[in-house]
Symmetry: C2
Subunit: 753 residues, 2 copies
């Protein structure tokens, strides 16, 4: 489901001392490291581009959205594959609310008439694009039913700042239908914010400047979105909770207690439909009123106006609200020494249509990893921990398969899960790494062992040189050059790691190659085998690289005597987040003071063009000073504890034997609690499903991550009282982390005194 979230999160670097000599492996004894290196080397020779290609051809051969025949067929085929590799596997089902369209109408009714086609045409030379009878039409899942006619207002990306701008222009969307372009936020934010401002309907279109001919040649001449291409996608309010809207917090099993649909809080409040730029052009061209602000203007060959009207639009959508069955395919390799410590790796298998890129390009490396593990097991490899491989269903609508599975197995996962490794789709280019910062050192070490298919470099080195090239300032460039590890991004949402990380506090990673593979087929019928094998990772060498990367990571996590978390990176990162939220408040104070001064000085009156309608801003109360001391103290404590742990760890690692079992078992039991310590007991305000104190999707950005979310969002929303309370709660979580780390350090100090 996610689109380039890793690239958005950026490839960055963390302050941490080098600690592991090249011939060592973090968390392994000298002996076991050697064995591990041998198994990993064998493993990395196994994934085959030809297999990846043939898996993709099969899995993307027909549309396979939730509830479709081919979705079930794929699940059964994946199950058979796992079994054929020699793995223990089964399908686990859930029954979830997943609406599909019955009626879709968008028409301009004034000042002229135009009826939107809402159709993506088949393309010559692309056989699957013509599978009309099986394709899910273009729509936004979890829009409510609706039939509205109203003046149209163009709201740019439809994020809160856009409505502030409209307010300054004296324009209201009350009673209007808004048309917003994709990008600038997760799509579900657009109808949510529109409804908050009184709109009664919402159209979302793909502007060619962001996602069409302005970017490059359009399909089939090139990889970019063609005129009639439209982006399907969920608009559920997943920032409140993802998964089945009717069974929040519990698995959507046959007998689960379900909310009535009318009470499901995560459905939209107004009807929504996505349209192509071909359908959007006549609508936008018919809007009058002021010319849109410069940054709002897209790539259509028209003057963009804001409205409201004279364009009036009729929007009608009606859905089949029946429950559909999800099929998660779960394979398990039992751990030889620590079967109750689980390393989980997943990628979804459902798509909006054929989904060659999203998700199959991430699913097929997973299958090759599983095939290789089957081979290694036959050769005598015995992973210490249990490995669980999951092909999730229903990620596209709302992370359904992963969320319901996590909710159904929450207790067991809370006790046993060491890490969750996610992929979603894959392309050509640079390794993108994001996740829990306790895994930053670990995944950097893995990346140093993977060869880039296009250069003579490791994927780590290539990513580092890219970061050097992209650095905005000389200072940042010098940091990147000086730091031992690349800083990994923080996770918001947009793929199946969300329930693991943010609901249960399981250390997670999301991995992907990309950055050289532009295109505009996301969530359209053109995301298929023909497109992928012509424009993306055409030789599947990056598919192989992803299998090598994730597979190596899973093996190493599963085999290490001591779970190879590292916490100084976490301490440095949360220290930066702490400084950021303090600065956020300072900036709000300075901006408020400046705004009030400009109002007093008459700046707005002096600069308003009398020929244009405008509304002057009003004075705001100055933000108070807040007590950040509890958080600062907690961050200092966790930083000291991380240093203590690392010192003890380095000494123990150096002995070569201190990590031998069973002495390390108790330490691992403590380490598994480290990410769990970061959970907030009550969850985040107004969305208690989200428990993680450090990482959450933004309440007004959707996928986009908010770090220290309780504190950050309270400051952003100018809710000072809540901000102060959230500082204390975040401090409690970070202090709890410090306590667990000190306990782990104590255990280590006994292993190698």
């Amino acid at each position: 489901m996610v689109k380039n979230i890793l690239l958005t999160a950026g490839l960055l670097i963390a302050v941490a001392p080098a600690s592991t000599p090249v011939d060592e492996l973090r968390g392994f004894t000298t002996e076991s490291a050697k064995a591990e290196r041998d198994w990993e080397t064998k493993f990395r020779a196994m994934p085959s581009p030809d297999s990846l290609r043939s898996y993709m051809r099969r899995l993307s051969a027909r549309p396979h959205h939730v509830g479709s025949p081919y979705d079930r067929d794929n699940a059964e085929w994946i199950l058979a594959k796992f079994k054929s590799f020699g793995l223990d596997a089964h399908i686990e089902t859930f029954d979830v609310l997943f609406p599909t369209p019955l009626e879709r109408v968008v028409e301009l009714v004034a000042p002229t008439k135009f009826v939107a086609t809402l159709q993506e045409p088949a393309v010559p030379g692309d056989p699957t694009s013509g599978q009309k009878s099986e394709q899910l039409p273009t729509y936004n899942a979890y829009s409510i039913d609706g039939d509205v006619t109203a003046p149209l207002v163009y709201v740019n990306y439809g994020v809160p700042a856009d409505y502030e701008r409209l307010e300054r222009m004296g324009i209201s969307v009350k009673g209007a239908i808004v048309i917003a372009r994709y990008f600038g936020s997760w799509r579900g934010i657009k109808p949510k914010v529109a409804a908050e401002h009184g709109a009664i309907g919402c159209l979302i279109y793909s502007d060619p400047r962001d996602d069409g001919y302005t970017q490059g040649d359009v399909y089939p001449q090139g990889p970019w979105r063609p005129r009639e291409g439209a982006q399907r996608g969920s608009v559920m309010e997943m920032e409140v909770y993802p998964g089945d809207p009717l069974t929040p917090g519990v698995g959507a099993t046959k007998d689960a207690k379900r909310l009535p649909i009318a009470q499901a809080p995560t459905l939209t409040k107004i009807p929504v439909l996505p349209i192509s730029y071909s359908d959007a052009q006549p609508l936008l061209a018919a809007i009058g009123g002021p010319v849109a602000p410069e940054e709002w203007r897209g790539g259509l060959g028209i003057t963009y106006h804001v409205g409201p009207g004279p364009a009036r639009v009729h929007l009608r959508v009606k859905f089949d609200w029946s429950l559909k069955t999800l099929r998660d395919v779960i394979a398990r390799i039992p751990g030889s020494a620590a079967p109750d410590e689980w390393v989980i790796r997943g990628n979804h298998h459902d798509a909006w249509v054929n989904g060659a890129e999203d998700p199959i390009s991430g699913q097929v490396p997973l299958l090759e990893e599983a095939r290789a593990y089957g081979e290694l097991l036959k050769q005598g490899w015995k992973p210490r921990r249990t490995i669980i491989y999951a092909a999730w269903d229903g990620e596209e609508p709302a992370l359904l398969g992963s969320t319901e599975w996590v909710e159904a197995h929450a207790d067991e996962l809370s006790h046993k899960a060491v890490a969750y490794l996610n992929t979603d789709s894959n392309g050509r280019g640079y390794l993108g790494m994001a996740g829990s910062h306790s895994l930053q050192r670990f995944i950097n070490d893995v990346a140093r062992d993977i060869d880039d298919p296009e250069t003579r470099l490791t994927v780590w080195k290539r990513a580092q040189l890219r970061a050097v090239a992209d650095a905005a300032t000389a200072d940042r460039r010098n940091e990147i050059r000086g730091e031992h590890d690349l800083r990994i991004g923080a996770l918001g949402s947009g793929s199946d790691y969300s329930p693991f990380l943010q609901h249960l506090g399981i250390a997670s990673l999301n991995l992907e190659y990309g950055g050289e593979d532009g295109g505009g087929i996301y969530h359209s019928i053109y995301d298929d085998f023909a497109w992928y094998t012509r424009f993306s990772d055409t030789s599947f060498v990056y598919g192989r690289a992803l299998a090598q990367t994730v597979g190596t990571a899973v093996m190493r996590l599963a085999d290490a005597e001591v779970v190879p978390y590292e916490f100084t990176s976490f301490g440095a990162t949360v220290g930066r987040y702490g400084k950021e939220v303090e600065k956020l408040l300072q900036d709000a104070q300075a901006e408020t003071a400046e705004r009030n001064r400009q109002i007093d000085d008459g700046v707005f009156a002096a600069t308003a063009d009398p020929r244009e309608r405008s509304v002057a801003p009003t004075r705001r109360d100055p933000p108070p000073h807040l007590d950040f001391a509890p958080l600062q103290n907690a961050i200092d404590a966790v930083t000291r504890a991380a240093d203590r742990y690392e010192t003890a760890f380095t000494r123990a690692q150096a002995t070569g034997t201190a990590f031998a079992q069973p002495s390390a078992a108790a330490l691992n039991a403590t380490l598994i609690r480290t990410e769990r310590a970061l959970l907030l007991g009550e969850g985040l305000p107004r969305r208690p499903w989200f428990h993680h104190a450090i990482y959450a999707p933004g309440f007004y950005t959707g996928y986009g991550v908010k770090t220290l979310p309780g504190v950050r969002e309270a400051i952003e929303q100018r809710n000072w009282k809540e901000a102060e309370a959230q500082i204390a709660l975040a401090a409690t979580a970070v202090s709890a982390e410090a306590e667990v780390l000190n306990r782990a350090a104590g255990q280590l100090e006994q292993l190698a005194p």
Copy 2:
């Protein structure tokens, strides 16, 4: 000719202490200040919007380019007007090379056929747009004749940085025709740089993103450039010298010695033609090769490619190279006390077509000022100095009328000119001020006496609040709030101040209202009375404000006992320029070191996409350290001298009588030398016509100003030897200025010891 040059230069503020109490006037005795205030108040009540409107209707009624019947008719009408106001006036003629088109062909000959229309259609409701028989066709003046057919390459704005980008993409323009969009530089730079890179022809088009429907509704629905609108304009190499190409440095009088046309160095090296975006679209759509870099993509509904080819274009242009007659209209009000001290004020009267905005909106306030002076003279006003009002001909092709007049009267002007005040066109909004920094305090004081038509503020206060609103940083905002004066911009070129300021070293100002008057009719047939009175300063209240502003400035300069130059602003400004050129070198050193390091580290190899052609950059020699000490010492000296002068001036001003004539006459004689002291004896390298050490148009930016040009451009061109020599020459000029200022300070100290 100039388009928004003042707005580009920005509205900024200078460090200088407040020195003149409200009831005083700088350079006046207490007595004479009172009289001056009375005359100025009378003056400012006189300019009439109705008169401005009727003058504009008359002057823009027919096309009036150089050599046309209506150009002559206008000159004679302006002459009659001056005379009717009671002024002594005459027409001065020059004979200059001004080519007009005989043949114009642009056609796509492969892969498909398309013939460009090269026509601007008449518009309903706009009577003068249909005057086809008199309109000069769309063309670029001083393009050479040519007939070429070649593959087309899109070069973005066609500035040197764009060719560096092409080089990195492995693309050459050798033997190609380039198509560049307007903006990003003065248009004449585009064919010059194209020819330097081996191109054999150049098309320049108006992209709708910069200058068309992306900006707003197009004419006649709105003020912006319609699909078939094209921008005429000169492409002469005016950065070498402006004026008649055949008579560099001397007036183009009947008997002047003329170069053969083939030896004229300022003609283009390749044929050039401007086209509309309607004509450009099929050409650009036919270009293949790599997709253009993101910033290069315009607003046409296509994917922009770079080429070369497969589009092949045939370009044929042929011109009538006969001499045409210029008619400058010169009016004179002899000075009562100091007839040999001249204050000159000009605006051109020629246009590319009807030219209601450019230049008539600046010409008609000049006429109202002259009319008001006629009235004041009748009432007994006796300006101390001689006032010269000039309506220049031939500004559009190459500042012809002003340059030839300045060259013809160079000796006299060098001895007598106190200041030159220029306007060109005018619109609605904010006062833009640019010019010699010795006049910064003066023009700020004038701006504090003018009422803004749209607010209850002075135009100074409105401009200051705009600058506050636009400030990029809080530091800059605080500077603006704290400084006594708004910083005025420096002058590059683009209008008739150039020969006065940069050839002869006459302190100059350029003034204009604008910023609320967007539009896209520049140098097209749609720049006419219908457009101006519908979309720009429709009630002519800003025309009145411009007359009040410039007229007050001229009166005050003509009447002051002591010429009201102020030099601490100059010292602070040149101090900033000095720091800028030092930083330019430091940046070049840092960038070179970084680039070389990235080459050594393999960054370019790591980040090159193997599916895209690219050429790695090569190592560069590190820039040496240069000896800036002579310039730093000179700047310190001029700063001290300016402070000494200001201290003496303030004491003398406070006496109330020290400025009484004839004691101040010798001081004025010294002051007239101050701007002249800044001239470089030999002029700038490779363009000796340009003498000013502080201000020049850029050799590779055209209109865009380069301050400390000899030093700055040598560093930019990495010519370190020349940079060192130019530092010494600039230091000599600035030291000479310090010497003159010390002499003036000495004279003042005697007036009020």
